[in-house]
């Protein structure tokens, strides 16, 4: 019997796609500030989905005493060497402390001094116990009847006509059911994209990576194929991490003030600069010049600090604590080796994502973007993602007043998607290649020809051209794949999404003819920074073809609106 999918039709005022940090907070904001109905779709379960599944052990974006939101804008701008949207950074920074206080009210433990003030960890950070941050957000939503959370539902396509959104469709990963959700407004909060490049660990621990391996850029993909404008995909994010476990280094660097040293014991960080990309670049250079491996110097810290570090990692990256135990050496007895990860596309750390107006409206009418999927506003971290959830929700509420959406039928589109999904589920032809094979092929192409780990993040235009050709060839092979169940259908969808995102990354890398950020975009044809490129590189798909649009910088105080609507 061939598999046939049942279709469930739902209707709501606002659809939130993705129930991670930004998505949950957007839904919460809608519930607390309006009577609109909300549906949140999540391909896993909002209790532990997204970046914060294991928890987070500090709030890294907070305006501490004596600092102003403008200082945070300055910091993020400097770190991104000027390619940021200051309007977005400013309204995000203005909300950081507000959402932090809200999180505390919801139950997050935040360290306070004897005067009841939050205790800083550096210039922009405060100390928390964030192991349960995601359950806290999920619980907060459960208090409202107006919100329906659909867990284990993967959204694959927007319903768009004449650049106006009417909802989205997707499928359950457990049941043979398609979901068609009509909505007046849609907030995309699906996160960034991992798994584009060959990762640090390739065998058994291939998913021991920095970013959630389950975030495959669905929101970017849906936007790209629907004609949304995207920005700054060439500003890839590469994290500096503890070797093997790919656990964060900030806790050690800021918590116990550990410096970056090479194998000769020399502190090298100042030599290359201390922006996020320069810290990665310095580590690469030290290795290339024969002074590797590189470490965070923890040897000699106190026993009490050992214990605190072991605990801090359990609240965020338990594998690092287990690694110290397996090694038989505490951090005080052995420096922590560090390495750069493979590149990711993630708008919470760098500036890649949807091109939005100051209030997070995308270029598709009725569609908003928040969190890692939203571009131009790096260094968001958890609190910045929450603020973007809030801003997008408030804008959606405002735009819904006196808003009427005409009835549009998507029957043909829905039918064609149903046929597509069923074809994959009913494809019994024996194929030489598995989903995994094609995924590995994609990651190898990106690694070898589009500046992955194996080329020390370097590339030139000849290599990018090859990368693009090979990725397009892989796209043609997708039709051979078959899915035994709904979960495998998800794997194929995730591969399809990433192949499109790879092409956009390649296009953007090729377009920026300078090296503004070492490692993040190391263009060997143009190895120097050139301020002629102090502008945004954007792209959009028109009639199936990707097109580049460059735009002048937007500064703080500006209100950016989309033109040519």
């Amino acid at each position: 019997m061939p598999i046939e999918l049942e279709i469930k039709y739902l209707k709501t005022d606002i659809l939130v796609v993705g129930g991670g940090t930004a998505g949950c907070y957007a839904a919460l904001t809608i519930c607390e500030n309006s009577n609109y109905e909300v549906i949140v779709t999540e391909k896993a379960n909002i209790k532990r989905s997204g970046c914060l599944a294991a928890g987070v052990n500090a709030i890294n974006a907070y305006i501490v005493d004596g600092k102003k939101p403008e200082d945070y804008v300055d910091y993020a701008k400097k770190d991104a060497h000027g390619i940021v949207r200051e309007d977005l950074l400013l309204n995000m920074s203005q909300g950081l402390n507000r959402v932090t206080e809200k999180l505390e009210k919801l139950g997050l433990v935040i360290l306070k001094d004897e005067n009841g003030k939050y205790v800083n960890r550096g210039d922009r950070n405060i100390k928390i116990n964030g192991e349960n941050i995601k359950p806290i957000l999920a619980d907060a939503l459960s208090n409202f009847d107006k919100v329906t959370v659909l867990n284990k539902i993967n959204i694959t396509d927007y319903l768009v006509e004449n650049n106006q959104i009417y909802g989205a469709l997707g499928f359950s990963i457990d049941e043979k059911t398609m979901y068609v959700i009509k909505a007046k407004k849609v907030i995309c909060a699906t996160g960034g994209a991992s798994g584009l490049y060959k990762p640090n660990n390739s065998g058994f621990s291939r998913h021991k990576m920095w970013y959630p391996p389950f975030n495959t850029g669905a929101g970017y993909y849906m936007g790209i194929v629907s004609g949304a404008e995207m920005t700054t995909f060439e500003m890839r994010f590469i994290a500096l991490r503890c070797k093997d476990t790919i656990a964060p280094t900030g806790t050690i660097a800021q918590g116990v003030k550990a410096r970056q040293i090479n194998s000769k014991g020399e502190v090298y960080e100042e030599k290359y600069g201390i922006t996020t990309s320069e810290r990665v670049y310095g580590t690469i250079k030290e290795n290339l010049e024969g002074r590797g491996p590189c470490y965070l110097k923890t040897e000699g810290i106190s026993k009490e600090k050992d214990e605190e570090l072991l605990k801090a990692y359990l609240n965020m990256a338990p594998s690092q604590t287990l690694k110290w135990i397996e090694d038989g050496f505490n951090p005080s007895e052995q420096n922590v080796e560090i390495e750069g990860t493979e590149p990711y596309i993630v708008g919470g750390h760098t500036a890649s994502g949807y091109w939005v107006d100051t209030f997070r409206r995308t270029t598709i009418k009725g569609l908003f973007a928040a969190g890692d999927v939203s571009g131009g506003c790096p260094q968001k971290y958890v609190t910045g993602a929450l603020v973007e959830g809030e801003i997008s929700a408030e804008t959606a509420i405002k735009d819904l007043q006196n808003f009427e959406l005409k009835e549009v039928k998507f029957d043909e589109f829905i039918k064609s998607k149903k046929i597509d999904f069923e074809k994959i589920l009913n494809n019994n032809a024996k194929n030489k290649y598995s989903i995994e094979d094609l995924e590995e092929a994609m990651q190898k192409i990106m690694d070898n020809y589009a500046g992955g780990i194996s080329t020390n993040y370097q590339y030139n235009s000849s290599q990018l051209k090859i990368a693009n050709e090979k990725i397009e060839n892989l796209e043609k092979m997708l039709c051979f794949l078959s899915a035994k169940d709904m979960h495998e259908l998800l794997f194929i969808q995730e591969l399809k999404e990433r192949l499109v995102i790879c092409k956009v990354v390649i296009l953007h890398l090729n377009e920026r003819k300078e090296t503004r950020w070492h490692s993040f975009a190391e263009n060997l044809d143009y190895p120097e920074k050139n301020d002629d490129w102090l502008k945004y590189i954007n792209s959009k798909m028109e009639n199936g073809k990707l097109k580049v649009v460059s735009r002048p910088l937007v500064f703080r105080g500006d209100i950016y609106e989309h033109r040519n609507k």
Partner: protein, 104 residues
């Protein structure tokens, strides 16, 4: 990077299958949980925290320095107790007060 599920202890309550951010854990024909996509585990330990029966252990792959130790967790109102059992039988427990912040 992955987990192992102890079939003797698993009661098939389904909590781990619901919470896994990759939906990697499924219920088998024996009504017990099993990890279907072992290599796809991110190591977030959400499933360990859900399991009231301590049926799930977390361990490091040999490719990232695993030597056979397993990590388990139990909860009460006050504390999260993280328990490591080494292959030689040695046990280590690290308790974290849930109401206390990290020092770092």
């Amino acid at each position: 990077m992955s987990i192992e599920i102890n079939k003797e202890k698993c009661v098939g309550c389904n909590k781990c299958t619901k919470v896994c951010p990759g939906s990697l854990i499924k219920i088998g024909e024996d009504k017990k949980a099993y990890i279907k996509y072992q290599k796809d585990c991110w190591g977030c330990t959400s499933c360990l925290k859900e399991c009231k029966y301590e049926a799930i252990n977390f361990y490091l792959g040999a490719d990232i320095g695993g030597c056979g130790s397993i990590l388990n967790v139990d909860f009460n109102e006050e504390c999260i107790n993280w328990k490591v059992k080494k292959p030689n039988g040695e046990k280590i427990c690290i308790s974290i007060n849930r109401k206390e912040s990290n020092s770092y």
